[in-house]
Symmetry: C3
Subunit: 270 residues, 3 copies
């Protein structure tokens, strides 16, 4: 699997795919810089007057609901429709799903709308997004990871999407093209200080879009690359300020040797 990740990273750096982002105000700068550092070409655009054109030549669309309102919801919905019309992948980052009715309802609406979808979220957002279906299974859940995995399986079934659950351990759930079953990979990369930088998850969603644009549509490569870069950065960081700076450097520097050294990947089932 390390070879698959490295090939995807090489493809990304060679093809420099254009990733259209409709994301929140807080992380627009970070997300653009993370995409540039890894080798992709970010565009932040939201107007309906140009979205059809943009999606015709974009590699993928990233939708992040972090600072959502009724005006932006319709812009996002329109962009997803244009992605569908152009057979492009959509990455949905349902920020704060569960924290308000608006966010939960909007996340479900977009999950339904997108035809080629990857959902990237943390455990509580995944559980909130899956809602009752997952909760009914979750009653017997041993821990929050189990509850989130149950919820992720439910999302795969409901929306035909792939799912990345990020956290101390990341889980990547994707439909196996051959068997039709669900592959679950677990990643133990990253660093405890990463959640102290705003928009780490948002950066992961952006990178997921970049990898999807070059055909790596499981979400695994993005989670591995950000996790490894985070570890590389943490070795040089004295706090969240220097971690953020080092992380962009690490995304830029990351190569096969660094990936080999740091990658902690375990296939849970295939």
């Amino acid at each position: 699997m390390q070879q698959i990740i490295m090939k995807a990273l090489n493809d990304l750096r060679q093809q420099k795919p254009l990733v259209v982002n409709i994301t929140n105000y807080v992380v627009m700068n970070n997300s653009a810089n993370a995409l540039l550092a890894v080798g992709a070409s970010p565009i932040m655009a939201h107007s309906r007057q140009e979205m059809a054109e943009m999606m015709s030549f974009a590699g993928a669309l990233v939708i992040n609901i972090g600072t959502l309102d009724s005006v932006w919801i319709e812009r996002m919905a329109f962009a997803i429709e244009q992605a569908n019309a152009n057979q492009k992948m959509v990455v949905l980052d349902p920020v704060g799903c569960g924290a308000s009715t608006l966010r939960t309802a909007t996340s479900r609406r977009f999950s339904q709308l997108a035809e080629r979808l990857i959902i990237r979220a943390n455990a509580s957002e995944i559980i909130a997004l899956a809602g009752e279906t997952a909760q009914s299974k979750g009653v017997d859940a041993l821990d929050s990871s189990t509850a989130a995995l149950d919820a992720a399986h439910a999302l795969l079934e409901t929306y035909g999407c792939n799912v990345v659950i990020s956290g101390e351990r990341d889980y990547v759930l994707s439909k196996d093209q051959e068997s039709g079953g669900v592959s679950v990979a677990a990643l133990n990369n990253g660093h405890a200080m990463m959640p102290l930088i705003t928009g780490m998850g948002c950066s992961l969603s952006a990178l997921t879009g970049a990898f999807a644009a070059v055909g790596e549509t499981t979400g695994l490569a993005a989670a591995a690359v950000l996790g490894v870069a985070g570890e590389m950065a943490a070795e040089q960081a004295a706090g969240p300020g220097s971690l953020q700076m080092q992380l962009l450097d690490a995304l830029y520097q990351l190569d096969e040797a660094a990936l080999s050294e740091h990658l902690k990947l375990a296939v849970v089932n295939a």
Copy 2:
């Protein structure tokens, strides 16, 4: 007073209060990172469709008018009403008050509207906000600090709020709960390079909200912590770029020893 500040910081790091921010586009990222680095949990949200829910579980609300327009003004007003309904503290950062009629009028409207209010601003904004009342006293003012202190006293009387005037020397004015009089504390922390980073004052307002959420409603702890962190950062900084990075690290690292070493606090009157 150092013990009060340290206790508040420990409370903040333990409770990780949720601080809802409606702030300007320029500093959303900084403010979120400053809150995370010090140990709080930031949410940037503005939609009226979720603000009632948000304020029901938030610890405090921070309103910053830096990039204001008629749409955002009504969102901010609605959020303040929700904070009032939930007995939550509101921190107002009247960015650019005095620079345009719109900003001055909006700052006064919000000061009137918020029932539990801390105003955090620089001297000229405080003077502009207080307006004629302060100017009538300010004619005899020996320097801008005196004029700003007069204005701050007027604001306390008019709005029943606490006031933080930030500058080379910070002043923290609060109603003494027991005597009913006004306590004025002065802080000589900070560094001359801090104003060369955009949004330093905005970060102070955000931190003021975080401390208010754990019961430190004078504004003193936030001003002390940011000032001390700024000094710690400046020792390692070669310019405003590295200062900004080091400041987040310092907010994360700041402990009792650093506070003891750096704090330059003088009670002007009590």
Copy 3:
């Protein structure tokens, strides 16, 4: 010419001109920090309710269409009208001109509207903005630089503006006040890693506004200062994260010695 640049920088640091920016969400923070680091005073404001006041005391207006929509287009147009009414320079950054019909049409509308105009863009944006006029000449263009220079000449003629084409080599085209001819200067400063930071061009546009506010209206000083600062920063940078931090430090530190050491300027014709 180095003396002209150094004089402009000294003037800027002494006068600290107020630069009003209506720019995109992605780079508001960067642009404000670049302006502060070099010594200017940034304001990010967009409301029509305060723009007339703002432009009455501002030194220059910077318009950047990076995250454009129909609401912001009218705000930008109104601000340009206020700049005209106050005889203030306007810097236009036509981000993504050519990438969508909306961006191309809006860029042309603003170029027409601004009475005292500097256009700062990369080669492809300049070529797209000039459109058919330039393309008819561009058929014989030897390379993209030649095509962009042809396009820039067409823009000067059509809009009576000055033009900065940024890229590996920057070109600065301005009307010579005495001869009435066009001066073309070329700069070989900067570093290959600079395009990996989002908003480098936007920072250049912001700096161009700051220099215009102190009377350096060709765009040369801004391009020289950012290029030299970029080289100084790159000497200390391990990737785009540290480059961004070092760049702000370098803008702050840049002095006559650094300018002398790094400036690589060649007058192409006068």
